[in-house]
């Protein structure tokens, strides 16, 4: 059962090969067996999951099941889940039981998905390795001495190890796509505003987006359809109809123009990764696509611009954690200032404190224009680069990461090196475009992902391109040795 995709599981549930209760129990048993090694879950909601599975089976018996009814899912611990601990990977929220559901959770529940639990993540989504979590590092199921990527590392590890058939992630600078690449999954960051952020604990409000992490593009299409849509409660939610993302999965790629940015294939890229992406390009040519060389000239400014904008926004968003209304409070505060400072100083981890401080400085008097004001203008230039490119091409192809997964601890004390590894994913968030990573091969038994970037609200096209590639390749079918 754990090797099946959502699409396959849905057919077997419809055929009554097994029940949702049996399916859910199977994944819970696998979590108990394998997760002590991986540490991909912070909270496993066993009783709630089995109750939801039972309800799903009743819905199916009444003839009202949808395609996702009874399918288990792991939810990143950044989404508020009513009555269930929502920690965001932080000591600051270790005691937080959310009083409400995020809209995404409501939509998943309405689709009949069964929540297995809340997955581990970099603290407040700040990280690219899942090593900053208060609950400890997550291991990559492909090689447990290596990182799974982050910040959605728990979700990635859980799906890669077949502890869940799918999961949700969030992506501010690559936090769905990069762990998907390092764990051999499909990970999709939708257009900004496509999926509601209500109840998704904010890191950088102009960059954050939620999306699916799955074994296949087809599964991502099914899950995105359930997740996407306008939400009154999110003032940045797009009022655009949600298409059937599966409708055009099998469309021909004949005549599709695929752009290869010269800046994504230069210095800093492991040549073996470049070779795999070029092979993917040749595969697309055989499917009828045309490769076009393009330029995104401001690419190399995306990392410094992002690391001004994102910390600036996070310094504002995380000011709500002050020990007053929820979350961690320090012992015996002397006065209000002591309450704020020690609650925050003791409740946040080092990377979060570092980013808050970077953002605070960048927004402070005398520095605002030089850093934040300038970064906003660079953001405009990066967005214009993409707009020019999309006049010439339909999708953009490149590597998701410059290298395969690195070893646990390797970059923990070198934040700059960690930040620079986001070079290919960050610009997509700055521009608000949709991007996805899908499996493209292996280097030394570690997965490599290719990234496809689409124009605004063209998730369907990305999924079509990815699905056609997965019909002629088998990277996505491979399972880590110890989790078969």
């Amino acid at each position: 059962m754990h090797h099946m995709t959502i699409a396959q599981l849905s057919r077997e549930l419809a055929n009554k090969t097994f029940s949702s209760v049996e399916l859910t129990q199977h994944f819970i048993d696998r979590i108990k067996q394998y997760d002590p090694t991986l540490n991909s879950f912070i909270t496993v909601t066993e009783a709630q999951a089995l109750s939801a599975a039972k309800a799903a089976d009743a819905v199916r018996a009444a003839g009202k099941a949808g395609i996702l009814t009874g399918i288990p899912i792991a939810q990143k611990d950044i989404f508020c889940t009513q009555g269930v601990k929502t920690s965001c990977g932080s000591k600051m929220l270790d005691n937080f039981i959310s009083p409400y559901n995020a809209t995404l959770i409501e939509k998943c529940n309405a689709a009949g998905l069964v929540m297995l639990g809340k997955t581990n993540m970099d603290e407040f989504a700040m990280g690219s390795s899942n090593e900053t979590s208060f609950y400890g590092s997550v291991k990559n199921p492909w090689e447990t001495a290596y990182v799974p990527g982050g910040s959605s590392g728990g979700s990635a590890a859980a799906v890669a190890a077949r502890l869940a058939p799918c999961a949700t992630g969030t992506d501010t600078g690559g936090s769905i796509r990069q762990p998907a690449a390092l764990c051999n999954l499909v990970g999709l960051k939708p257009t900004y505003g496509r999926v509601s952020r209500y109840g998704m604990i904010a890191f950088a409000s102009s960059l954050d987006q939620a999306g699916p992490m799955t074994l296949t593009a087809e599964d991502a299409a099914l899950l995105l359809h359930a997740m996407a849509g306008f939400d009154e409660k999110d003032s940045t939610s797009i009022q655009a109809p949600v298409p059937d993302y599966t409708a055009h999965l099998n469309d021909s790629l004949e005549g599709l123009r695929i752009g290869l940015p010269q800046e994504y294939f230069g210095e800093g890229l492991d040549p073996r990764v470049g070779q795999l992406i070029e092979e993917a390009g040749r595969c697309f040519e055989k499917l009828g696509a045309k490769l076009v060389k393009i330029s995104l000239p401001h690419t190399h400014f995306s990392v410094p611009a992002y690391y001004v904008v994102a910390p600036a926004e996070c310094s504002s968003n995380l000011s709500r954690f002050d020990g007053v209304r929820y979350g961690y409070r320090c012992e015996n505060p002397i006065d209000l200032e002591d309450l704020y400072k020690r609650s925050r100083g003791e409740g946040f981890g080092n990377e979060v404190k570092r980013r808050i401080m970077v953002g605070t400085y960048a927004l402070s008097a005398g520095y605002y224009d030089a850093f934040y004001g300038k970064a906003q203008k660079i953001r405009q230039l990066i967005t214009q680069d993409f707009k020019h490119a999309f006049k010439e091409v339909d999708v953009i192809l490149g590597p998701t990461t410059p290298n395969p997964a690195f070893k646990l601890g390797e970059k923990k004390n070198d934040p700059i090196s960690m930040y620079l590894s986001d070079i290919y994913t960050i610009a997509t968030n700055l521009a608000g475009l949709p991007g996805m990573s899908l499996p493209a091969g292996f280097i030394d038994q570690l997965p490599i992902g290719m990234q496809l970037i689409g124009n605004y609200l063209q998730e369907g096209q990305l999924l079509n391109v990815a699905h056609r590639y997965q019909q002629v390749t088998d990277w996505h079918t491979r399972t880590p040795n110890n989790y078969r």
Binding site: Y192, P304, D322, G323, R329, N350, F371, K374
Partner: protein, 95 residues
């Protein structure tokens, strides 16, 4: 860009973050490196390009002036670190 102890202490105060004694050397070093990276931002010539605050164009939506929320005071106070008589409790600010 050199970030020294004075700057770190000022930023920490602005951000309302307490620092441990042993944090300072690591913080000054890592923040200096981060801001050396970020200095590239201020060096680029952006011409008369407009600033971009977020990807969406347009304006915030208006809505009807109707009450749509219900009182959940008890649920929200229940999760507070210290609450009493419908109030969040904090150290006294007025003597």
């Amino acid at each position: 860009m050199i970030i020294d102890e004075t700057i770190v202490n000022r930023i920490a105060h602005l951000a309302r973050l307490s620092l441990q004694d042993g944090d300072m050397p690591v913080l000054t070093d890592s923040l200096s490196k981060v801001f050396t990276l970020l200095e590239q931002v201020s060096a680029i010539d952006t011409g008369d390009c407009a600033a971009m605050a977020h990807p969406l164009e347009g304006h915030l939506r208006w809505r009807e002036d109707n009450v749509t929320e219900h009182n959940q005071r008890d649920a929200f106070l229940h999760i507070a670190p210290r609450a009493e008589a419908g109030l969040f409790l904090v150290p006294s600010v007025i003597e």
